[in-house]
Subunit: 342 residues, 2 copies
């Protein structure tokens, strides 16, 4: 161990670097945070000392002193659904580009509203400067409003009274595209298998499904319950197979569509010849169902990215150059839909 190194085994700090480089700690600080007004030669000396000592900035100390943490919090429900993972990828990417860190708080599926408040608290305590609510429910309790008022977060937008506040993604557009596609093919009506009642998206899509049918003078048939899982899709499929007049179904997720189609096949109903199916998500496997699924793609990764970028822009108080334009769902037509048999 060279005599220039601190002899004890504690991690090197700014003082050690400053001493070795022959500058003040303030200069070390400036170099580490990439500020201007440091002579290249000085910066080089500092960086050499940093390298030699293996120094790294102590984030807790820095954020205590500066009041900034550059931490983004994410609240998600504990599910292994594809959507959660893909959202996370987008968030991580955007955060990393702007040198933010992401910390996640998971909440049990179907948890009470209190659980979200608690997760919010955990993230605030941890120092999160902004919080992304990748969350299935409307959070408009007084407790939640108190928190979203002091810590910027997504989904504020839904709670705020601005009717033109951009949504992360337009669930109504998703449902409309799906239902109209089926009606335009000539189906007399469209049955619906919604997702878990707990999710806001579920309600939004169901409302729009009803609305589109009503617009065309069709009385919506009863809803066939679902909960996102393939098993629930299978149960729904058995129900629908027993309804001879059903020729078109709007299912709220691809995973349910897999179960639904299997049940239809077992009951001897062909897809799309007897029954057309449109679902939502466009997961990687959607094209490999039998038949390949016609589905409305949700660009989860872009959504996560957009949410993070918007939040960061708010935190920095600036326009971000690569500001995300609105993210739109897209109908992908494959082989699970067709015109009804004449």
């Amino acid at each position: 161990m060279s005599p220039r190194h601190p002899s004890d085994d504690r991690a090197p700090n700014q003082v050690d670097v400053a001493r070795l480089a022959g500058v003040s700690t303030q200069t070390v600080s400036r170099v580490m945070s990439g500020q201007q007004n440091v002579r290249p030669e000085t910066a080089r000396r500092v960086l050499a000392a940093v390298e030699e000592l293996g120094y790294r900035v102590h984030a807790a100390a820095a954020s205590l002193a500066s009041g900034r943490t550059r931490i983004l919090g994410v609240i998600v429900v504990s599910t292994d659904r594809y959507s959660t993972a893909a959202l996370g990828v987008g968030i991580q990417q955007a955060a990393a580009e702007h040198r933010y860190t992401v910390t996640t708080a998971a909440v049990a599926d179907h948890a009470s509203a209190d659980a979200f408040v608690e997760a919010f608290d955990r993230l605030e305590r941890q120092g999160a400067e902004g919080i992304i609510l990748g969350v299935p429910v409307e959070l408009d309790s007084p407790a939640m409003r108190l928190r979203t008022a002091r810590t910027p977060s997504t989904r504020n937008e839904r709670l705020s009274m601005h009717p033109d506040a951009p949504l992360i993604i337009d669930q109504h557009a998703i449902a409309r595209q799906a239902v109209e596609h089926l009606l335009d093919l000539g189906h007399k009506t469209v049955w619906h298998v919604p997702g878990d009642e707990y999710w806001l998206e579920t309600r939004q899509r169901r409302e729009t499904w009803e609305q589109v049918l009503t617009e065309r003078g069709i009385t919506p048939p009863p809803v066939i319950p679902g909960d996102w899982t393939p098993e629930s899709g299978y149960r729904a499929g058995r129900t629908i197979a027993a309804i001879p007049e059903a020729t078109a179904v709007f299912v709220s997720s691809d995973e349910m569509a897999f179960g639904l189609i299997r049940a239809l096949h077992e009951a001897g109903r062909r897809v799309p010849e007897d029954i057309s199916v449109v679902s939502v998500d466009d997961i990687a496997l959607a094209g490999f169902a039998s038949p390949a699924l016609t589905t409305v793609r949700q660009p989860f990764e872009q959504m996560g990215r957009a949410a993070a970028l918007r939040l960061i822009a708010q935190l920095e108080g600036v326009e971000i150059s690569d500001a995300p334009e609105d993210v739109h769902p897209e109908l992908i037509v494959r082989s699970s839909t067709a015109a009804p048999r004449g």
Copy 2:
């Protein structure tokens, strides 16, 4: 605003609480960290003050003073694969139970080894006390060894020379179960579609596939390349469909199996009558493929949980009561495998 409240709008701190409760800051600290040796009456007064002021512990300050962060870092590759999400759920759960926070660093898929080193650095700088490497590759560069030596992390185990160090999950057991299941059904040989070459798991499974065949005096057929995606499975399926003598395939993921089976069907080969297929993972949709997939389940959630608990135990220097027993893969027999036709 009551006169007892600090008039400026800065967040309340320990001093404010101490003053309002009529105690010292140290007592506030003791109450907040749930220590013993505080009279119930005193604790109540403190908590009342905390409530009134909306005080919350400042994590950065606490960790600067205590030297502890209770942060667990996770390095993952940026994919939306099911496995990543499910692992995360298990990690989050275990961390929350022990009052740890999780922060994630994502690395681009197929990134260089340097990218993992950099992610490790980011997490260390952020204060992570332990790091879970949910990572596809062997990381045994000097730079990485330097880091894993000072910050506890999983997968050390694979790098360490202890041959009996418990693996997170035994990839050899996975491959062995799959291949032996097919051979025991009477197939003369087993073809293999591995995952992405980049992944350690891929190599481990292929090695075992070769080994099991060799043990039984069978010369392994050529490998049909794959990369985890359903598309690659589909391509592999077309290749295999053109091999008349092929009757059994071990595919390294369920998603590839979906693609593979579709390609076989399109080529007129029936599953399992003409060709048996075993895959790996047991994703939610595995039971809803046509035919339902025989697959080796990887208990991702338990794996994540086990990794986190083991790391926490190491950090706390204690045995954790609910220590995870080893996590084992399990063959789930469904309908994609059968004996070869006589």
